[in-house]
């Protein structure tokens, strides 16, 4: 186990180098620099511009800049935002709970429906239910997120008026946020209607964000279940006189989950990238929206730091999934 952990963690190092190098280089390929965008249309005196660039260290050779950046990162310093002058790390952790809450809810939505639908579709293969689930999930998987979001907003917010269009909670509510999770904080605040408002704000973005993972999980669960249901040990379980629910829900699902868990881990990456689009559409104050703004403003430190932190989150999740894999699959755990 320890050796597995060491090998697995050491693989993280090249990933980090790749992530930092890519973001560092890509953001600098976009024309313009933070100063030009800060001053806006008024323009700036070239001398003053050069002065400010030197102040930010942007006049140094790129490799040198990268070296300084990496050195700072290794010391835990992600720099300060060019725009707000706040430490990037601080801003990130201000906003991350919002993204995390949205992603978690999207994942719960995707898992609960995806797993159930996949299992039922597999048990009743070739039934109307099966074909419907597979058809709908293929559609969901192919749907551009932004278009899907707009459709839902049109239907539920504009026509039916059931859900709000944007934000995390109605502006009439104001309370401290000890956890950063609106669902929990609104409950803690004790203000009447705050929780309901938070839920209503969360539903559409969570559905939009969870759609692709839902489709992938449903299809994966179905095919994995189909394979497992044909196994000899399922026949054994039936021969023991177990109830079908137990045969499917315990004996089959436990085995079918092994490949599904890997897919779920990969979907977390999809969720965080999807969050960028979803947050922008629903004006959700999370890191996704923050990153988009950072791109518009050429806020190099924010963008580099933000992407590095998100990459860290994805890597951590995948690491957890790999470890989890060993727990749910005894054959891996004991493999030497």
């Amino acid at each position: 186990m320890l050796r597995f952990l060491v090998t697995r963690v050491s693989l993280v190092i090249p990933t980090f180098i790749g992530v930092t190098l890519l973001t560092f280089a890509l953001i600098r390929l976009i024309p313009g620099d933070p100063i030009e965008l800060l001053v806006g249309e008024r323009g700036i005196d070239p001398e003053r511009h050069a002065e400010l660039r030197a102040e930010m260290g942007l006049d140094q050779p790129l490799l040198h800049q990268y070296g300084i950046y990496i050195w700072d990162v290794l010391q835990g310093d992600l720099g300060r935002s060019v725009v707000t002058r706040q430490p990037v790390l601080h801003e990130f952790f201000e906003l991350f709970p919002a993204t995390l809450e949205l992603s978690l809810c999207a994942m719960i939505f995707a898992l609960s429906i995806g797993l159930t639908a996949g299992v039922i579709a597999a048990v009743r293969r070739n039934s109307v239910f099966d074909h419907t689930v597979m058809g709908v999930s293929l559609t969901g998987y192919s749907m551009p997120i932004f278009w899907w979001a707009i459709l839902l907003i049109l239907l539920f917010s504009v026509n039916l008026g059931w859900t709000p269009v944007s934000g995390r909670i109605d502006v009439i509510y104001w309370f401290d946020q000890p956890t950063g999770f609106m669902l929990i904080d609104s409950l803690l605040s004790g203000q009447e209607g705050a929780f309901t408002s938070a839920v209503r704000h969360l539903i559409l973005p969570a559905i939009v964000l969870g759609t692709i993972p839902l489709a992938v999980i449903a299809r994966m669960t179905r095919s994995s279940m189909l394979e497992v249901l044909g196994e000899d040990y399922i026949r054994t379980a039936r021969a023991k006189g177990l109830r079908p629910q137990r045969v499917v829900g315990l004996h089959a699902l436990r085995n079918a989950l092994i490949p599904v868990v890997t897919v779920i881990g990969l979907q977390v990456g999809v969720l965080l990238t999807g969050a960028i689009l979803t947050e922008t559409i629903f004006a959700w104050p999370g890191v996704g929206k923050w990153l988009i703004e950072a791109i518009h403003r050429r806020d190099y430190p924010t963008l580099q730091g933000g992407i590095l932190l998100i990459a860290t989150a994805v890597i951590l999740v995948n690491l957890t999934v790999d470890l989890l894999y060993g727990i749910i699959n005894p054959r891996i755990r004991h493999a030497r």
Binding site: I328, P330, H334
Partner: protein
């Protein structure tokens, strides 16, 4: 009254070209504590017959029978829940592939205790102790520590012992063994068969042993059912069957045993294969491979009827059974 009584049992599977009878009009009686061998080539419907007794025919297979009773109880038309109270408790089954028949995600102890808990209830501790007893009973060394083992940590022979322990956990009246030793090493095969026979005698349970090994049948069974293409070809006491097989198919199977053809230099074989779903012959299903076949065999399907030839209670499905009078046997 026999423990298990089957009359005209059929298992049908729908195919694009009409339904296919994989098991076709099987009659079988098994007495309390009796050891019945079922033999036949691959595809002769042996396994499906057992599975239909257990109620485990996979969808979209359809089971029909004029009579299907177990322990005096009609198994036809009882609810799935009532059926499950019998399956795994009074009638248990072990399978051919021990390595894949146990769930790889659960420990051996869990899988044995599960059967106990479902049928007999009992506390966790009681079931654990019973599981240790069972593992000891089937000859697994250090049973206490084996409870925590996963199937992939045990050998094929050990896994089959675990399967047997699981099957006998609720003291079944009938144990169905579907080629329990086929997938194992030769040395282990004998051990597993010995264990099964021993358990059958000690517990007085009936055992249906499906195999395609005539040698195994000769050593263990009291009565033999020979199956061909989903039908019972012949059925009688083991000594009678081996001495004077009446069905040409039985005779062919016996002739192809190496130990029975010592004087010949070449082993006789049965030409051809068992007909499948789409090449069912007319008349007697065996006629294309039968050296005694006549016109009647092509046209008219023989019925399974009683054939008390030199003994009691045999039955046969053949127009022209072999008559051993005057052959010196």
């Amino acid at each position: 009254m026999p423990l298990l009584e089957i009359r005209n049992l059929s298992v049908e599977f729908p195919t694009p070209r009409g339904s296919f009878r994989a098991v076709d009009g099987v009659d079988m009686d098994v007495e309390q504590g009796e050891l019945v061998g079922v033999v036949g080539e691959s595809g002769s419907g042996k396994s499906l017959t057992l599975l239909s007794i257990m109620g485990l025919i996979p969808f979209p297979g359809r089971v029909t029978a004029d009579r299907l009773s177990f322990g005096g109880r009609d198994l036809r038309g009882i609810s799935a829940a009532q059926r499950r109270r019998i399956t795994g408790k009074d009638a248990a089954m072990i399978f051919q592939e021990p390595m894949t028949s146990l769930n790889p995600c659960f420990t051996v102890g869990f899988q044995i205790s599960e059967a106990l808990r479902v049928h007999l209830g009992g506390t966790r501790e009681q079931n654990r102790r019973r599981a240790v007893e069972l593992l000891e009973r089937v000859g697994i060394p250090a049973p206490e520590s084996r409870l925590r083992a996963f199937p992939h940590q045990l050998s094929g022979g050990m896994n089959q012992r675990v399967m047997i322990a699981m099957a006998i956990s609720c003291n079944p009246k009938l144990l169905l063994a579907d080629e329990p030793s086929t997938a194992l090493d030769v040395t282990i095969q004998a051990q597993i068969l010995d264990l099964l026979v021993e358990l059958q005698r000690d517990h007085g349970m009936a055992l249906i042993l499906v195999t395609h090994d005539m040698g195994v049948v000769a050593e263990t069974a009291e009565r033999v059912v020979v199956m061909y293409a989903g039908q019972v070809a012949e059925q009688r006491e083991v000594d009678r069957l081996f001495a004077t097989p009446r069905h040409p198919y039985t005779a062919g199977l016996l002739d192809s045993l190496p130990e029975r053809s010592t004087e010949r230099s070449r082993l006789p074989t049965l030409p051809g294969i068992v007909p499948g779903a789409f090449d069912r012959p007319s008349g007697c299903l065996f006629h294309p491979r039968c050296k005694y076949a006549q016109n009647r065999c092509v046209v008219e399907e023989p019925e399974l009827r009683g054939d008390p030839y030199r003994g009691q209670g045999g039955s046969l499905r053949c127009h022209f059974p072999i008559d051993w009078e005057g052959t010196g046997r």
